[in-house]
Amino acid sequence: MASEPLLTATSAGELLELRPRGSWTASRVTTLESLAAAAAPAIDRANTVKLDLADLGELDTVGAWLLEKLFRRAVSAGHRVDVTGVAANYAGLIEEVRQVNRQSRPPPAAQNPVVVRLGEIGRSASGATEDVAAFLQMLGSLFVAMLGVLRRPRSLRITSAVYQLYRVGWQAIPIIVLIMFLIGAIIAQQGFFHFRRFGAESYTVDMVGILVLRELGVLIVAIMVAGRSGSAYTAELGSMKMREEIDALSTMGLDPIEVLILPRVVALICALPILTFIGVMAALYGGGLVAQFYGGMSPAIYIARLHDAISVAHFEVGIIKAPFMALVIGIVACSEGLRVKGSAESLGRQTTTSVVKSIFLVIVLDGLFAVFFASIGM
């Protein structure tokens, strides 16, 4: 049934007779395209074109369109065109194809590459101010929602907040413990290895304690949470935005900030200090194990050294930062989630942006706190 397509052109003086044969169907489009291209010059030369479709085997839209293109080429060159032998079952299709592609599309406007480049730079610069505006707007709306909750404490979604706390807090504990345990162990190992050369091994404990309590503990936990929970928040809110769930909430007279975002941010603010505390303990435990098995320091001495080296102030410096970092992560994650547009690609892009931006801001915030604590002498 399906046979190789052919286009026989017999030219007699001014008259050109075209007889397509075989299957003019989509699966043979490569052959068909070259056949049609080969026939084009002959059409331009002739005066009268006769298109005889009597021998056509199979025809579908692609084949019909290619024939129609030949037909239009001849007509636009001012030739007389006769189409004969149209089978009854293909007449409708040929008639249908005759109607399409009548409007010529406007050619894409030529663009100066320099201007395009400059336009991109300008857009990303204005995008940066938009980012700041979105961040501040989310901070403001959260503040307003918080005030509303203070006025009417029952409007806080306790169930939702507890559920989010379970997700971002409780379920994150195993991975946080594992990572921080390893971080503590690695720092201790490096300390023993390098300090041993000048006999200062016992200072390893100071290094592990101060570093983990003040800086690394909270920083690494915040980065983990941004990657783990911030991305989840963005993806959740983004897909809710895509499916018009957030619009549905607003039309029911509910504030999406109060219903969706406040419980999430509150949960994050509660979870991060707890996770930081657990993570710091895990890191100190990891450091202690390395001290015993690699540094040859007994646990009693490790604990005693730790007692001398660190103070509550060190712990405070670390833990005070945690809620602020949680707030930044929460705001970035939620505002990026609400900026998701209709496509799957935009959901992915916004999730990536959320994680990158919140990690960046967490590190910047850590730097600002370092300056602050140094200047108040903590």
Partner: protein
């Protein structure tokens, strides 16, 4: 050609599909003839979409055989099914357009993946298909998120037809459309079916489309086909569910206009 020799486009025998303990399709057999429009009706949640998705290989079956155009069908990732995939086009209920591609790219996608042809011809074919389903060429560069529900259905139909398939599966093509648009869509399907010689397998609740475009209607109840035939035969069916479906309050409302 006598009816007996005409091979069935889709042949389903003794199909069983279930999830967990629930059996959705229970020893179902169905033939869809070449070149006909078959409408499938059934209760909401009664397994119409499951049957369609099983035939196209998206849902695994427990037992039974499915043949499409004389060839057995396995799962979607089965090589045999992939060979048939060029022969069918599927219109999903929500359109299932690729959201990160424009309308034109969506229609071109099957062409690009399956055939070797020039960019120019591909553009022309895509625009031709879009115009055939009643869209303006100006819509070609829009993204799916910028389209209305009816336009999404039309683009999805254009994409289903991109490779000039022999069989088209339509999952509730007129749901969510206004009666005028639904009527246009029915007329469009009928025209395309006549011009392209398509076999159409249509899941629908739209009594008007069942009445106007379907050659035969199959009723699915309790996991089986309980009645199949032209609309007037189904209207006389004695099966209680079929009677309730076609002689219920809503269908009565249609009677004065329909007759």
């Amino acid at each position: 050609m006598p009816q007996a020799e005409q091979p069935a486009a889709i042949r389903v025998r003794d199909l069983v599909v279930g999830f967990g303990r629930q059996v959705v399709i229970d020893h179902l057999s169905l033939d869809v003839r070449k070149g006909e429009i078959l409408g499938l009706v059934g209760a909401s949640g009664g397994g119409k979409s499951v049957l369609m998705r099983t035939i196209i290989g998206l849902i695994p079956r427990r037992s039974g055989t499915i043949e499409v155009l004389g060839r057995p069908v396995g799962g979607v990732r089965d090589r045999r099914t992939q060979n048939i995939a060029g022969q069918w086009g599927i219109l999903f209920q929500q359109g299932a357009l690729f959201s990160s591609l424009t309308v034109r790219q969506n229609v071109q996608f099957p062409l690009r993946e399956n055939l070797v042809l020039s960019e120019e011809l591909m553009d022309e074919i895509a625009i031709a298909k879009l115009e055939m389903v009643g869209l303006a060429p100006g819509d070609a560069d829009k993204f799916p998120s910028e389209l209305s529900g009816g336009m999404i259905k039309r683009v999805a139909l254009a994409r289903a037809l991109a490779l000039d398939p022999q069989i088209v599966f339509l999952d509730e093509p007129t749901s969510g459309l206004d009666p005028i648009a639904a009527g246009d869509f029915d007329a469009l399907i009928a025209t395309l079916q006549k011009t392209l010689g398509l076999t159409v397998f249509m899941v629908t609740h739209d009594l008007a489309s069942l009445n106007t475009v379907c050659d035969r209607v199959a009723a699915l109840a309790d996991g089986k086909i309980v009645a199949i035939g032209p609309m007037r035969e189904l209207l006389q069916s004695e099966h209680p569910w079929v009677r309730a479906y076609f002689h219920g309050k809503r269908s009565q409302m249609l009677q004065p206009q329909a007759s």
